[in-house]
Each structure stands twice: as C-alpha cells, then as structure tokens.
Symmetry: C2
Subunit: 332 residues, 2 copies
C-alpha cells in the first residue's frame, strides 16, 4: 500500500507532528496515458511552510487531510504512456509520498547530463535554478558586484555563493554559527557573518571592511526580517534585492518592525520578488550555464540526506532549526 504525508491542520508558527500524518493512499488506476513511478528521492523546501497556510494569493495552499506535494525524483515501474518505459529516471511533483500513478504530462524524463539523478532536486533543479535566475536575472548581478546572501549555508544560499564567485563577484554570506560560517567560506565566500553572534548590521559592516567594500550592490534574500532590514542599512545606492524567501517570517506570528526600510527611497533601491517556476520556460538556458559549472567543479553540491519516508517531516522541520548544510533531501 502506498503512503503519503497529509496536512491535517494549519500550523500556528512552527509546525508540529500534530499538524501532519503519514497515511495510506489509494493509487490511481494505471490507465492509458498514465505512468507508475516509485520515488527514490524527495525534496523538502522552506516554501512548503507557506503552502501549509491558507493565505490568499501566496503559493497554492496544501489541502487539509490531503497528500502534500513537492519535488521528487523516481523510477518508472510501469507505464501505459508513450515515451516512458520501466526503469526511466523521472522528475515529478509527487513528493511527500513513496509512489504515484500520474498522467504523462506530470512526469519529466531526466535529461542525460551524466550526473546522479538527485541533482535534479538540487543544483540542476529548484535549488540551483532559484539561485541562478535570482542572482543573474532578478538582481542583475554582474562581475565586480558585492553580493550579500542570507542563509548562505542553505541549499539555495550555497548555490548563490558559488555561482557568484564563479562569475567574478565578491560575496558576503550569513549563517548561524561558526561551523556553518566556515562551510560558507569553504564555498568561496569572501566573508561570512554569524547571525547568532550579535548585532547583524554591525557584523555586516565588519565584513564589508574585511573585503574592502563600502556597501552591497546585490542582496539575495532567503530570510527576511532582521536580515532584510540589515541589507537596507548596508546597501549601496541603486542596489538590487532578489526576494527569494523569508524563512525567518514563516514561523513568526508577530510582524517585524523594519528600522531601515525608508532607505529604499534615498538609496533608490530596487526589490523584486520571484518564484522559480516563472523561469521554467528558460530551463535550457539554465542547464547550459549551470551544467559546466557543476562539471567543472565550480559549483559543488552539498546535501544533508535523511533516510526513509518516515523521516520526511523531520527533514522538513530541520530546515527551520538549521539542521541542514546545503540541500535537504530524503532518500527512500
């Protein structure tokens, strides 16, 4: 019997095991045009927290007492659809479960790039794509820019650090704790601030001094709240902010009081929100740019892997306690 994680009630703040349940599900019948996939890898990502809320016009909300979904890489075990055969490695959105029977349109055969399939959930998928389009397109980052990226030890953040360095930028990351900061520096970051170690604006000014820069030209925001406010404070004129995530806000119920937001005006800042899926028509361009950076070792992949479908919710919670270094994945 197949099983899937269900959302049972909408969490207040940080989700708990009371909010979810791992339940048996009935698979759709394998009719013409359908593909039966067994998942090998599941992705858990911070944006999923927002989908647990029933907030108007944000990401599509998860239904109550229904299976959740998300990125997954699997193997075709049976197919009644043209173009799919047993053993094919595929990318689907049928995550949070072990098996699914899906219409062929919801199943994507992995392109042959000579890499392990899980990369398509990481640097060749949502993670790397978010980093690359956010940095290069949304924030128009260019050689010589000073880039600040928050949650730089996280999945998207570590990709941003490496892509920026491979593209001739100076990079300041932030991360929680000295071990993570060491990891961020090992990715090539010119400086890293430990946001748990005290005043963030002061620490960032120290990092700017360390790299001989006056301010930042680009902020890649994964965190929101205090990090975003600090970025306003240290931005150069006409700095561009790629608003990718506000993980620090998802589990806070009290809104954050921004002290430096009015700098948007005097510094002529530009902030732009974006969602990876908007760029899916441009995946070819992305593979062409990112493939060589992975093959050439300029963008290394780092994963935290948890084992088994049962661990999926713990893996997800780990995103909010900082349990992951790099991309968090579940191996089935």
């Amino acid at each position: 019997m197949a099983r899937a994680w269900h959302l049972m009630q909408r969490p207040k703040g940080l989700p708990t095991t009371n909010d979810v349940a791992l339940k048996e599900i009935e698979l759709a019948p394998l009719e013409d045009g359908m593909v039966h996939v067994k998942n090998d890898w599941l992705s858990v990502d911070p944006y999923m927290r927002a989908r647990m809320d029933d907030t108007e016009s944000y990401f599509e909300a998860f239904g109550l007492d229904k299976p959740m979904d998300g990125g997954a890489v699997g193997t075709v075990v049976a197919s009644k659809a043209e173009g799919f055969a047993q053993g094919d490695k595929v990318l689907t959105f049928a995550g949070w479960r072990d098996e699914a029977v899906l219409p062929a349109a919801a199943v994507n055969k992995l392109p042959e790039l000579g890499v392990d399939p899980y990369h398509f959930l990481a640097n060749l998928g949502l993670t790397g794509g978010t980093a690359w389009f956010g940095l290069m397109d949304v924030a128009s980052a260019k050689e010589g820019d000073v880039v600040f990226v928050s949650a730089a030890a996280g999945a998207v953040g570590s990709a941003v650090v490496q892509i920026a360095k491979a593209s001739g930028m100076k990079v300041i990351g932030s991360a929680g704790g000295s071990d993570k900061c060491e990891f961020v520096r090992s990715l090539g970051a010119d400086a890293c601030v430990d946001y748990k170690a005290g005043n963030l604006v002061k620490a960032l000014k120290g990092a700017l001094g360390e790299i001989g820069a006056k301010g930042i030209d680009v902020y890649f925001d994964n965190v929101g709240r205090e990090h975003l406010d600090a970025a306003f404070a240290i931005a150069n004129n006409e700095a561009r902010f790629a608003e990718c995530g506000m993980i620090d806000g998802y589990n806070h119920e009290a809104p954050y009081g921004f002290k430096y937001i009015a700098y948007i005006i005097g510094k002529r800042l530009q902030m732009k929100g974006f969602i990876f899926t908007d760029f899916q028509p441009r995946m070819g361009e992305f593979y062409a740019a990112m493939g060589p950076m992975i093959a050439g070792g300029q963008v290394k992949s780092q994963e935290t892997v948890m084992d088994g479908l049962e661990s999926t919710f713990d893996a997800f919670l780990g995103l909010f306690s900082g349990a992951n270094t790099g991309k968090m994945l579940v191996k089935l």
Copy 2:
C-alpha cells in the same frame, strides 16, 4: 537685513519650534558672476523632515545652526552675472529665507510657459515632476492600470491622481477625512478611502469592489508604514511600487511591523525608490508632457498658501498634520 530659518537641533519625532530659529544672515557680496534674488515664493516639502536627521546615506542633512534650503521662486533685484537682469523671474534652491546672493550656476531663469511663476514650485517643478516620473517611469504605469496613491490630497498625490486619470488609468486615492476624500474624488479619482476611518485593507478592498477591480497594478507610495503594508495586501501579481516617500515614518520613532511584506515573493512585486533630482536631465521631456496637461486643464493646480517668512515653519509642520490640500507654499 536678510533672514533665514536655521536648524538648531535635530528633532526627535515631530519637529517643534525649539528645533528651529528664524535668524538674521549676512548676504554674500555681489561680486562678478553673482545674482541677488528676492524670494517671492518658498516651497515646504515632506522630504525636508528627513534632511533634519543626520542619517547616513539618506538625503543630505541640514547643518546645525545653518540656514536650511529648499525650492524657491524669486525675482532678480541686482545682477553681476551675464544672462540675468533685474526683474527676471528665477528658480533657486535658496528657500527658507527672504533673500540670497547666489552664483549664476545656482539660479535658473524660468522658461516662458505663460503660467504664474509659483507653478515651478508645484506641478512644473518638484511636485509634478515627482508625480510624473514616479508614475510613468519608476512604476511603468500604463493605460488600464489600477493605481493606488496614498496622500492623494497632498501635493504630489493630487498630481498623480490627475496624471493617471488623464492617461486612462483607474485611480484609488487615500486621504485623511471625508472632506479631503471629496477633494480627491473631485480631482477625478474613481474611489477614495479615508485612512482615519478604520481598517485600511478592508477599506481598500471596498474601494476595489466599487471600481470593479481585483487588485492594484501600481502603488504610488507617499506614506509608508500601514499604507505600504495594505498595498502589499491588495496588490495584483507583478504590481509595481514607486517608493516616493514615507511621510508616516519620518516622525515615528518605533519601527512599523509589516504583516504582508512576504507577498513581495509570491506576488512577484517590484518596489523601486526614486528621487526627483535623478530625473533633472529629462526635464524637457517632462515640460513637453506636463505643459499641455496643465494648459488643457487636465491637471489643475491646488495650493495652500501661507503668508510671510515667519509662517514658513508652521507651513512645514502643517504637512504632517494634514493642514494642506495640494501643494503647500509660502508667499513672501
């Protein structure tokens, strides 16, 4: 003896008469290349509040125990500079005082547009220019867009309302009190919300219903804080925010807690700060667009005029208590 308003100490919150003083000043000698101007009209503007603070990288701060400055229209009373003769009407930045002797480079002869000179402090100057460049360039507003403008009964706001209507947009304004809302509607706004009358998001949703719109495509922000937060809440996907001012923040010491700021991501919002002076090389383009709108009566001018140099500080304070309808000016 000439006199000028001096900043004596940096205000905390709303400025008081203790922060400023009207003092006698010595004029520079009328040497070669200099022009002696007697001011006829002084401009007071919300951005001047920011200049009273000594905040890094915002507008240039006023010096302490020094004359403040700002836009002024005057008449040349004596000239030792080529191109300037007694009686010429000129635009300078030597506001907050009655007379000044200035180098010719700081004096601009008014172009002959057949309008009363004070317009160059209003719809043909910073006020109208801020409205026009902010709406058309920064927010890329176009025919058919739904535009929300805060402080719509203020100087810049009323220009935005009229330019937007003249350009085929739908407009929702906000203002404090029913009289001001009536004025905003008289400018052509399709709806106006009274921000003093209760929950702003709810009122704005009512206004959207009234005009048959789902959300806003453009927000022209003069106010910040609760207005900006409400704009996040009612924005359509890919809405553009022109960040012109945050008057509501200038005199608050406690930072504002934004409830809806994370919508920037899911709705792919774009926020851009701007300053009118950045557009000064494009004034010709602006005169060409705005001149006919003023001549054709599509953009009407509305002023609140206070009399005499002594009233300048009260006129300035009036900007924060809502004493003005349209542009606040001081007539000497």
